[in-house]
């Protein structure tokens, strides 16, 4: 399944840092995201796009994971030649990531 099936996301920026929130539609699915959507998994997914560290913060009460991607915007909004210099589209790019299926004891939304 795709992350898109379980979560919504919003991306923001500060300088050359991309800041992406991933929020489970259903709090019951948060544990699945916490287990599989690790900072390492996100690093592999974005590959060379992220040159610096990736921090992950957990907010279980809101069903949310926060990823802070350093040196991720080709210089940042005020110094990047990228068409999307804010990296706003990275939110939906991340939602395309493949996840293992949910364990049998949780129901999917679909």
């Amino acid at each position: 399944m795709r992350l898109y099936d379980l979560a919504h996301a919003r991306a923001g920026d500060k300088g050359d840092i991309s800041d992406i929130s991933v929020i489970a539609y259903d709090l019951d699915h948060f544990e699945h995201l916490r287990r599989h959507l690790t900072a390492d998994r996100v690093r592999i997914y974005f590959g060379e796009m992220v040159r610096g560290a990736i921090d992950r913060y957990e907010m279980p009460a809101l069903g949310a994971l926060k990823f802070v991607l350093h040196e991720a915007l080709g210089g940042g909004v005020t110094r990047s030649l990228s068409l999307d210099s804010h990296g706003k589209t990275l939110s939906y790019s991340l939602l395309d990531l493949d996840l293992p299926d949910l364990p049998d004891d949780t129901e999917t939304l679909s």
Partner: protein
């Protein structure tokens, strides 16, 4: 318990005006706040002020105040804004003049200045936050503006001003200041300042709380986005609050929309740093308490940082950008050929080039060519060239090479656009608070500009 009603009239420089008018007319607001400054906006406004010393404020200042001033005055709603950008005093004179022409002869407009610290930092050797180096390593510095906190607005709020116009004030501080003024919150009551900062953080992007930037058809449906309403908060003296929007407006305000905005750009949710407080959103509770009504509680706070952050704008370089579209059979190959041609011509010209991007919009542009596209051949694609140069003449030459694809490139290209511009970049430094002094001037309508 006393409740203050505070609304968001704008979330960025070019935001819509009608939802702010609706809030001024029907919102029964105590305060209406317009947040209109992004990271780079003030540097560009400073360039504008160089060309016209009487200018340098938000480009929609006239239209916004023309639409909102009378209903706000009628409702007894005070306006707070950073629309002054590089010239708060000029903007205040402008609004006072507008009020005079509208017959609002009692209107008082405060201008808050002191964020412009260019004279203070010029020649200093403060360290850059984003990269190694100091201010002296930059080219021509255009602007330096400190992110002032809520305390910068307290004198203006204590005056009889109906409208308060500032330049660089940290976005949430624009909302926190009226709450501190009204409730008399102590300047070191960190949890309360954290709660007021959460009010500001949720409202500062206006429509992003009420269903804007949220819709995904079939997945996250948002009703009536064409008539999107802007949010307001009902804040209690103890710092608990409800965010909501007016009835009969488009959009929606749910736990999901509030969660997206609460976490937006905060980095570590337990340490959201502003000039006023280090707010802690990590234990926030959100509860849907009615249609388009979400209650927010559990915000914490810790002592504010010692220094102020300063955004420094400087001329970094020059940028050429050009695009051309291809469609139909073999569009992708023709677009690639177009890029190859421009690359060869630009490289052969031996220009002082610092950085290049050759993108295929519709294929790999927003991912900077770094994520492998999985989609099949597109029915149309737009080739894009972006080049950073050391001088304007070279940037113009690169832009012309893109335009030359009209007659000297692959078959069937169309829709050429091109530009060559000075590139203003932003870096940050820290400045001790004691270096910054705030001034408040309150103008009556007779002191307004005659323009």
């Amino acid at each position: 318990m006393r409740t203050i009603r505070i609304g968001a009239g704008a979330g960025f420089a070019d935001d819509r005006i009608e939802p702010a008018v609706d809030l001024a007319v029907r919102g029964r607001l105590d305060y209406l706040v317009f947040e209109c400054l992004a990271e780079r906006t003030i540097a560009l406004a400073q360039l504008e002020k160089r060309r016209d010393p009487a200018g340098g404020w938000n480009e929609w200042l006239d239209e916004r105040f023309d639409a909102v001033l009378e209903p706000a005055v009628r409702s007894g709603t005070r306006i707070v804004t950073n629309m002054g950008a590089a010239n708060p005093l000029g903007a205040a004179r402008r609004v006072a003049g507008l009020a005079a022409r509208k017959g609002l002869s009692d209107l008082r407009v405060a201008a808050v200045t002191g964020d412009d610290v260019l004279a203070i930092i010029r020649g200093s050797d403060l360290s850059l936050l984003e990269r190694p180096g100091t201010l002296s390593s930059l080219g021509e510095i255009i602007s330096a503006n400190a992110y002032l906190g809520m305390d910068a607005l307290l004198d203006a709020l204590a005056s009889d001003a109906d409208v308060i116009i500032a330049g660089r004030i940290a976005d949430p501080s624009l909302f926190l200041a009226p709450l501190v003024h009204e409730f008399g919150w102590r300047p070191d009551d960190w949890p309360l300042l954290g709660a007021g900062t959460a009010v500001g953080h949720l409202l500062e992007c206006a429509g992003q709380l009420t269903g804007g930037y949220f819709a995904d058809p079939g997945k996250k449906n948002v009703p009536d986005l064409g008539r999107l309403g802007f949010p307001l908060a009902e804040v209690d003296e103890n710092g608990s609050f409800v965010v909501t929007k007016l009835p009969n407006t488009g959009g929606q305000l749910t736990v999901a929309t509030v969660t997206e905005q609460l976490l937006y750009e905060v980095h570590d949710p337990a340490r959201y740093v502003t000039p006023d407080v280090i707010a802690d959103f990590s234990r926030v509770r959100l509860e849907q308490v009615g249609a388009d009504r979400v209650a927010v509680s559990g915000v914490g706070g810790a002592e504010r940082p010692a220094d102020l952050k300063v955004s420094v704008g400087y001329v970094d370089s020059f940028v050429a950008e050009g695009q051309i579209s291809y469609a139909g059979p073999n569009a992708l190959a023709r677009a690639r050929l177009a890029l190859d041609i421009v690359r060869e011509r630009v490289t052969g010209a031996h220009l002082p080039i610092l950085e290049t991007r050759y993108d295929l919009i519709g294929v790999d542009a927003v991912y900077r060519g770094l994520l492998v596209p999985s989609n099949p051949e597109p029915s149309e694609v737009r080739a894009r060239v972006a080049v950073r140069t050391g001088d304007l003449a070279s940037a113009r030459q690169v832009a012309r090479e893109v335009a030359s694809l009209w007659l000297n490139g692959p078959a069937g290209g169309g829709g050429v656009t091109r530009s060559a511009t000075e590139d203003v970049a932003i870096v940050s430094v820290f400045l001790p608070r004691r270096e910054v002094s705030v001034n408040t001037a309150v103008l009556g309508t007779r002191e307004g500009a005659l323009a």
